[in-house]
Amino acid sequence: MQIVACIKQVPDTTQVQIDPVTNTLVREGIPFIVNPYDTHALEESLRLRDKFGFNVTAISMGPPNAEATLRKALALGVDRAVLLTDRVFGGADTLATSNVLTEAIRKLGETDEVGIIFCGKQTIDGDTAQVGPGIATRLGCTQLTLVDKILELDPIKKRIKVSRKLEGRHEIVEAPLPVMITVVRELNRPRYPTVPGRLESMEREVEFWNNQTLKLDEQSIGLKGSPTWVSKIFSPQRDKGEMIGDGVHDPVGTANLLIDKLLSKDLLSI
């Protein structure tokens, strides 16, 4: 059985700034990282592999430089890494992206049955949380979102039991395989690559698949296959802060002022 971890290279958003004039992301010189939620997806795949001996394949759709992200996955120990890259994939929204990923997963399944697909619950650049469910829908498999614990997995009977972390409650769900799971950070603590793992990853192969491999209708992928697009990115205006009191000379008085202020705005009640 095979586990597929879908990962994405994202700009390190803590370092991204928005150009105040053009209202676009200033991406220049910003380093890329593996989408943090996806690192938990990878980790869980590897843990199940360590326990059950499955094969783990990491896939990612992105520009050729997203190879670095897949190398990180190789360094952590995945068995296979596939980068879905083609100009015609570019400009994709979540629908078009899930079309490409779905087809790639189908193709992977031709040689080794795919039992579980792990995705991060969302990416930190798009924040849509739609690609994972999109894949499940297109594959026609069960989807379990926001999973924070795998409770049981029976590869023979092909059943899985997980805990989903919902607002204010947990839900225990059992489902048949194959299954698409999106994960939250509480699921696990990602491992750190060993040095031999890192060095070997530099020598291992990242497979590049383009649309000649996937043979998707160009109307369903890339910009053409995307019914939605981003029209504007901006930071909401924030009111200027206010200085109250004189913390240096009158710390007690200032603290009192602050508390009064917070109380008057009802910011301290639970």
Binding site: T14, R189, Y192, V195, P196, R198, E203
Partner: protein
């Protein structure tokens, strides 16, 4: 020839040689390490530390050991003669003319007496006023072994006097006049009969035989016992001082990263031969244990134990290691005499107090880092807090993971130039703490103001500045350190940096000492040195004597003091600016007690024992200072936190730069 003695001597020699050879061949299993460079300097080191007992004498009680050691050297000659004479009774020192043999036996006589006194003192110390640090988990001050060794030496001395006194009593000693102590002892036999005919009417002859054989037996027994006891150090400590590090142990060696390599130490023979020799040289004196801040605050680390474990592990796994089969006793794992725990390994602050304390130049801390290297790089096994640290350092080049674009934020309140090879002389390397830590930013601004006042031409790298990698290296993440070091060295070279000012002793030591391994040999100066120089040269002139900070106590940062010998400069700065010498901690300068943040401990929780910073703050409070002065951002954090923990809110913490800046403020 005396056949019985000769036979015993041969047996003892064979046993001794076998045991010693076993240990020697185990040491040879260690990894390569070049300690044969600069032989003249090594000889000097050996003369100073082994023969001169320099570090032994650093503690008051050390004099007792030194007397014993020097006595041992003199008596080696006496015992050599004894053995030779035992085998070939015709050969004796007394064959030499009196002007030579006389002074020699005089020396032996006196020295034996001194040794006997020292042994009695040592006995008394162990019995009546044994310091706690003589005990470690597996080796006790009042152990059978300890007393046995003392008894051996005492008996040797007593037997020496016993048979020489008997010979004097029997009028058989030509050199009696040269042997005051033995002559005095001879009185105990009632003076003998005066006949030299061997009649034994006086009953002294059996005593002569008894003491001679006692001496012989103890000497041979000692020889056999030596290699299996901690007393082995009398054989290994001298070469260990010869092979000791010629430089301060303030860096770690580089590792070569290539597929197929293994990193750090997993099994004991991954250590170098010198590390293994260290383990056989330990005298179990407990000084490192007594100096270690982790040990003092009841962490599971004792540097002495680290060394003891290496020896025990090596002996326990000897057969497997020699045949190349898997070892029985792991080096790192569940607590045991031959096993270090991971908790112990992670408790080290790399303060270097252990190395400073060790009389026989054992290097404890680097061994801890070698074990960390394996855990981090081969097993990815480390305290969970470090995962973020490593990723932050790797992805954003600072421990906090703050965006590099924010590196210029601190300078929004003043005009700061970019470093430019043509226009600026010094690079002011702010360091991550000086850049991002809200308290330390004040120090950065103070220092920048001083540099301006002194008309120094300086610039910064701004958002291009990267973390120096100190914490990564001390935590054993050499791979990450290697990456940061290469990036930094390349950056400095590309920007044409020739002189660097740092405000953090960790950046300072890393740039200055560690980066030398990467070909960076430029002037790196810590602000303690720079401020002292500027004040001495009159380039900065305080407007007045700073009095508002009250009485100041100065805390030595490990990476400034012990690791780089900068002790007086910061003190001079304080004295110059305040008009008063700073107060001193009980443990100061080379004996200073760490703040608890070095070695990457800054980024880890302190789960066990008392907090190191609180312990140091309490020590400061003993001299009731108004201000604790530091010269390191980590010390700053640890003291700021520490004074809050003990609720001594009215004690201030200041960096020396802030003290100087205070003096420059217009009145």
């Amino acid at each position: 020839m005396n056949p019985i003695f000769t036979a015993l001597f041969i047996i003892a020699t064979v046993i001794f040689a076998t045991l010693a050879w076993k240990r020697f061949s185990l040491i040879r299993l260690g990894k390569e390490e070049n300690r044969f460079d600069n032989i003249p300097a090594r000889i000097v080191e050996m003369l100073l530390f082994a023969f001169g007992q320099k570090k032994v004498l650093a503690r008051p009680f050390g004099i007792n050991h030194s007397i014993l050691f020097w006595a041992f050297l003199v008596l080696l000659l006496a015992n050599g003669e004894f053995l030779l004479n035992g085998i070939f009774p015709a050969i004796s020192l007394r064959l030499l003319i009196t002007p030579i043999s006389g002074p020699l036996v005089f020396l032996f006589d006196i020295v034996s007496m001194l040794a006997l006194i020292s042994i009695l003192v040592a006995f008394a110390r162990r019995i009546f006023f044994k310091p706690d640090y003589l005990d470690s988990k597996y080796v006790k001050g009042r152990s059978f072994e300890g007393f046995l060794i003392l008894s051996f030496i005492a008996t040797l001395m007593i037997a020496y006097f016993g048979y020489h006194a008997a010979e004097i009593a029997l009028r058989g000693e030509r050199l009696a006049a040269w042997m005051p102590v033995s002559t005095l002892a001879a009185g105990l036999y009632g003076g003998g009969c005066g006949s030299s005919g061997g009649c034994n009417n006086c009953g002294v002859v059996p005593w002569l035989i008894f003491w001679w054989w006692t001496h012989a037996a103890v000497l041979l027994a000692f020889m056999v016992f030596l290699p299996i006891s901690k007393h082995m150090h009398i054989l290994t400590a001298i070469p260990n001082c010869f092979f000791g590090s010629l430089e301060k142990v303030n860096t770690q060696p580089r590792e070569e990263f290539a597929i197929g390599n293994s990193y750090g130490v997993e099994k004991v023979t991954d250590f170098s031969w010198k590390d293994l020799l260290d383990s056989f040289s330990c005298t179990e004196c407990g000084r490192c244990q007594d100096s270690c801040p982790a040990n003092a605050t009841h962490k599971p680390l004792n540097p002495r134990q680290i060394i003891h474990t290496i020896k025990t592990n090596l002996m326990a796994n000897a057969a497997e290691l020699q045949s190349g089969s898997p070892v029985k006793t792991p080096l790192v794992g569940a607590e045991g005499e031959g096993t270090n725990t991971e908790e112990a390994i992670w408790s080290c602050t790399t303060c270097g107090a252990c190395i400073e304390a060790c009389p026989v130049l054992i290097e404890q801390m680097p061994k801890i880092i070698k074990m960390r290297r394996h855990l981090v790089q081969m097993k990815s096994q480390f305290p969970e807090e470090l995962l973020n640290l490593f990723e932050n350092m790797e992805q954003r080049s600072n421990p906090w993971g703050i965006a590099p674009t924010e590196r210029t934020k601190w300078s929004s309140i003043m005009d700061v130039k970019s470093f430019d090879e043509k226009e600026t002389e010094y690079l002011f390397y702010i360091g991550c703490a000086g850049t991002f830590d809200s308290r330390q930013k004040h120090v950065t601004v103070s220092l920048a103001t001083i540099l301006n006042a002194a008309k120094i031409s300086w610039g910064v790298l701004g958002k291009d500045e990267k973390c120096c990698g100190d914490s990564a290296r001390r935590l054993g993440n050499e791979f990450l350190f290697d990456k940061l070091a290469k990036e930094n060295v390349e950056l400095f070279k590309a920007r044409g940096v020739k002189k660097i000012i740092t405000q953090c002793p960790h950046c300072f030591s890393t740039l200055k000492n560690d980066y030398r391994q990467y070909g960076l040999e430029i002037e790196v100066i810590h602000h303690a040195e720079l401020l002292q120089r500027l004040l001495a040269e009159g380039k900065i002139k305080p407007n007045r004597e700073v009095k508002e900070l009250g009485s100041i106590i100065y805390h030595d940062s490990c990476y400034l003091g012990r690791h780089n010998d900068i002790y007086e400069q910061p003190r001079d700065v304080i004295t110059k600016v305040t008009g008063e010498e700073p107060k001193e901690f009980g443990k100061n300068r080379e004996n200073a007690f760490c703040c608890g943040a070095g070695g990457g401990r800054m980024w880890m929780e302190e789960h066990e024992g008392e907090r190191i910073n609180v312990t140091r703050v309490k020590e400061a409070l003993e001299s009731s200072p108004d201000t604790i002065c530091v010269a390191c951002p980590y010390c700053m954090t640890m003291f700021e936190d520490g004074v809050k923990d003990v609720n001594s809110g009215n004690v201030r913490i200041r960096d020396i730069a802030e003290v100087v800046a205070e003096g420059l403020r217009p009145v």
